[in-house]
Amino acid sequence: MRLHIKNGRLVDPATGKEGSGDLFISDGKISEPFSKPEKTIDAKGLVVSPGFIDLSARLREPGYEYKATLESEMDAAVAGGVTSLACPPDTDPPLDEPGLVDMLRRRALSLERARVYPVGALTMKLQGRALTEMAELAEAGCVAFSHANVPLADTQVLWRALQYAATFGFAVWLRAEDAWLAKGGVAHDGEVATRLGLPGIPGFAETIALSTILELARATGARVHVCRLSTSGAVELMRRAKAERLPVSCDVGIHHVHLCDMDLGYFDANCRLEPPLRSQRDRDALSRALADGTIDCLCSDHTPVDEDGKHLPFAEAEPGATGLELLLPLALKWGRARELSLAATLERITCAPARVLGVAAGSLAPGAPADLALFDPAAALRVTPEALKSQGKNTPFAGYELQGRVRTTIVGGNVVYEG
């Protein structure tokens, strides 16, 4: 399909360029201008941006189809302007063998919506004992290896896993949380947890684990991406590691740049997240670090949970929040609060995560894949869980008045969503 998008405000985070103009698409790629398009889209009043890239979205298949299905979550992705997403390996069974990965990719491909990049399990069944066949898994389509939110307490296994991954140049994505210090905890260990009588996870559970990870990255030379930073201490450690030019990157979840433990209110199970929402000070440090580049990218950490999983006392509720459809409005809210340009804001959900994924997306340059999001940055959006496409209605942002609505999503030159 030869497509012409006219009258839009083009924002290319890769170059930082913003301005009104036309965009041409052919053969699924951004192309030089041409005449006689087969279809023209009038993007008057809309921003034309590379489609969003989400480093963590749980699609719940295989194994948790009662929480969400690939269909529902892929609908949610494109409705949120997300054109590429990485899914963590904590499915049931976990993504620890090539057949599972292959099946997931084929299922996703057949739906013709967003591009799905599976992240393979670092150890068999995520049990933290035996390594997976990483090379085989990579061949089947895994872009990286991780342990999702499952604790990997045995540091010798972690060391070996990083050595092995480094051998082949595979990236390893890790959450930084000391399994023993976090044991039994459900909230940030601080005043709020003390008041509510919730078992706490101290902030140093993250910095201690991150120190270990960084030391092992230094020793092994593995490419490490640290997932979901939650503390100001971890931000400082990442800042130093980057100054030292370690091959490390990191991300933060959308909830953690906006919310803190005070938002637990009266035991709001929608605020039961992994990592836990931390103090106001931590939140502000994360927000700043994302702006100054210490934190590379922002992700939705999309985790659809069914009602049965949330209608429970706080500590018993299943952690996680739905997020694919809120990634853009919450990124815009963050960018406005930090007084960033639109291009700088969008960089954190386009070309920055593309670099972590190692894919050639996130740009409007001719030759780049025609994955686009056309959105109205000023359109009001009242968060109504029932209206979400995702099967997960679990969000602490219910009732929030946000701005930013996706109107059209294009993947590989095909319109996959129109709202």
């Binding site: 003390t194 008041r195 009588g197 919730l198 006392p313 706080f314």
Partner: protein, 316 residues
């Protein structure tokens, strides 16, 4: 911020979930009403007709004979019908969810749910899902709150000491796991007690406990000095011998209340304990049964306080 889920639109007590966040006037109203009910419990006919025709469901997801019994007596003295459900061994083990259990009981025309649950915040979840005419009274949730115990402690203190604004109160022991301590501390600070102390080893004090408005002491002798009220907390045996405490002997030596240590408090100090007591672990028998102890009156007052709470919430 959401509205305090315990209060209705008029600011009246609809559920009792926690002492935290209750205005001073509401606390005083409960204590004054309890004072009137204390008169009733001293009569020959210890019953008033106020909750005639109402049903009180004692929903105990965690076993507790003592608290359940005091709620049962209180409800019966208000002429309510009481149904005891020991959920720990019934539907939950069959996999029924908390809210399904509540919905089922609600269909049986409940008016008050008295809830004991092992998980902090469980009564809030229930209160969010009950019908407008139904009321939830928290009988202890996880480590979070035990508001009727806190209120009966406040009632006891007021009974013996009248004015809160001149008192030094020490809460001794396992504050980390104690819902009783949290409720009492909130109550004391709301009613204007100028100095509330917590005494215990660092392993038994929650992080940032100072934010509750208390002074922290690790040395019991220093902490007891000139106290008007000493509240001993129960130390559960399962806390022993792990990473929290090495042994009951060492704990008693450092944090057990003996007659000798009590002499550091004011001569007219009262000693309280929410029960059940571990004699020789947190408190010596000579103190538990001694002239400063008001542990048994606490139990008696507990009934009047629970009568007050149920009659107030059920009317709002």
């Amino acid at each position: 911020m959401q509205r305090n889920p315990q209060l209705n639109a008029k600011g009246e007590l609809q559920h009792l979930l926690s002492i935290e966040g209750l205005p001073r006037e509401v606390l005083v109203q409960i204590l004054d009403t309890a004072e009137s009910f204390a008169g009733v419990t001293e009569r020959e006919v210890k019953k008033v007709p106020i909750l005639r025709g109402k049903s009180v469901f004692n929903l105990f997801f965690e076993p507790s004979t003592r608290t359940r019994t005091t709620f049962e007596i209180a409800a019966k003295r208000l002429s309510a019908d009481v149904i005891n459900l020991n959920i720990a061994v019934s539907s939950q083990s069959k996999g029924e969810s908390l809210l399904d259990t509540v919905a089922n009981l609600s269909a049986m025309q409940a008016d008050i749910f008295v809830v004991r649950h092992g998980s902090s915040g469980a009564p809030y979840l229930i209160a969010r899902h009950v019908k407008p005419h139904e009321h939830v009274v928290n009988a202890g949730d996880g480590r979070h709150a035990h508001p009727t115990q806190g209120l009966l402690d406040l009632f006891t203190i007021r009974h013996y000491k009248q004015d809160f604004t001149r008192l030094t109160v020490a809460v001794v022991g396992d504050v980390l796991h104690s819902r009783v301590a949290r409720s009492l501390i909130h109550g004391l600070t709301t009613l204007g007690a100028p100095e509330v102390r917590v005494i215990g080893p660092q392993t038994l004090l929650p992080s940032g406990v100072e934010s509750l408005g208390v002074r922290v002491f690790h040395d019991m002798r220093a902490g007891l000095k000139d106290c008007d009220v000493v509240v001993m907390l129960r130390l559960q045996s399962e806390r022993m011998g792990g990473a929290l405490l090495p042994s009951a002997q060492e704990y008693f030596k450092n944090y057990g209340l003996t007659a000798e240590k009590l002499r550091l408090a004011r001569p007219d100090a009262i000693v309280m304990h929410p029960g059940p007591m571990n004699r020789g672990v947190e408190i010596d028998s000579t103190v538990a049964d001694g002239p400063h102890s008001v542990i048994l009156p606490q139990v008696t007052f507990g009934i009047a306080v629970r009568m007050a709470v149920m009659s107030i919430v059920a009317g709002n």
